[in-house]
């Protein structure tokens, strides 16, 4: 069923299980494409859990935007099965982002210093890599992001 995410005073519902199921079917294929194994984009120090509640919504909104703008878009694959699964994930992320945008519109998704700082850290890890390599690595780390969301 649906999972309710409590992000400070922003509360949304999302189909995390459907996303997990979809990602689990392509995880090995995607992670196998990631040749840079000595670094990570989504690190524990910048996780949602380690962020104070009032900043969690903003951090997640920025991370989702990163995935929508620069991960799903730059991930290329000739494999139609993987293409369908990444499309499914991208469209599900779009649904979550719409819900977060509602929170933003209702002033329940403020961006404090902590969210801004942590997102810039994530972005700097991301931008250490080429766009293509960053997209592959970030997509391979989707289970980390889903786990962060699971624990909200």
């Amino acid at each position: 069923g649906l999972k309710t995410l409590h992000l400070g005073s922003c509360v949304i519902t999302t189909n995390l299980q459907e996303m997990r199921n979809g990602f689990s079917e392509i995880r090995d294929s995607v992670q196998a494409k990631d040749e840079i194994i000595d670094t990570r984009i989504l690190r524990k120090t910048e996780s949602l859990q380690d962020t104070k509640p009032t900043d969690q919504c903003c951090l997640l909104r920025h991370v989702l935007r990163l995935y929508l703008d620069r991960v799903f878009k730059n991930f290329k694959t000739p494999d139609h099965r993987i293409l369908r699964k990444t499309s499914s994930l991208a469209n599900s992320f779009l649904t979550v982002k719409k819900e977060l945008r509602l929170c933003h519109a209702h002033m329940t998704c403020p961006c404090g210093e902590e969210a801004t700082e942590k997102y810039s850290q994530i972005l700097s890890h991301f931008e250490e890599l080429t766009p293509q390599a960053a997209a592959v690595k970030a997509l391979g780390e989707l289970d980390i992001l889903l786990q962060w969301m699971e624990e909200m």
């Binding site: 703008d69 139609h80 499914s88 469209n91 992320f93």
Partner: protein
């Protein structure tokens, strides 16, 4: 060069019931020939961020029938664009695109097939398996003045569920509706079905 000689498929429409989505169109007819169709889709993400990207359908690329089960393609609650083209050897038609994007939240929801039975004094219900996205809200009550209606959300699919231990001689009634949280909707209630245990006294 054989492009767009074939007429494009017409009258595209999606028939969606209980989260099963079928894209249909009028067949392209060339006497004595077998036409193949290719179905592609793009979700709202693709149309917003990469509008040139179209994804071959899981089951409709290619297909010989003028229909394609797109259930496995429509996996998020966003509008999807769909298109079809016909192919015969090296000849390929133009694409025909569904006039209005399809969103799974428009699916028609019907109550499940319901089997209400007695197992001794136990009121038992068995519901049709409609898939993992479905839950069922079961309402049941004693048919007598002032009786209270009980409600139970059932997630088990196709497995008998015990509702209540019945008192002999009193009719017990049941109705059910489907719930699909992924789209935040539910079906109307089913017909009411009642059963009664004959008037034996309850065993001590």
């Amino acid at each position: 060069d054989g492009v767009a000689i074939l007429p494009a498929p017409q009258n595209l429409s999606v028939h969606s019931t209980n989260m099963k989505h079928l894209l249909m169109w009028s067949p392209v007819v060339v006497p004595g020939e077998i036409i193949h169709y290719f179905v592609e889709y793009q979700g709202e993400y693709e149309s917003l961020y990469m509008s040139h990207i179209w994804i071959p359908s899981s089951w409709g690329s290619p297909t010989e029938d003028p229909e394609c089960d797109i259930t496995d393609d429509i996996t998020a609650t966003v509008p999807y664009n769909l298109r079809v083209r016909a192919s015969l050897g090296s000849q390929t038609s133009a694409w025909s695109t569904l006039q209005h994007p399809f969103n799974r939240n428009s699916t028609i929801l019907t109550p499940p097939v319901m089997e209400v039975t007695k197992d001794g004094f136990h009121l038992v219900i068995k519901l049709e398996d409609l898939g993992p996205q479905f839950e069922f809200l079961v309402a049941y009550w004693r048919r007598e003045p002032g009786a209270k209606e009980h409600v139970k959300v059932v997630r088990s699919r196709g497995i008998p569920v015990h509702l209540e231990t019945m008192e002999p001689g009193v009719p017990y009634c049941v109705k059910v509706q489907t719930l699909v949280k992924a789209i935040g909707r539910h079906s109307p209630f089913s017909q009411v079905e009642c059963v009664r245990v004959q008037g034996e006294t309850l065993p001590l």
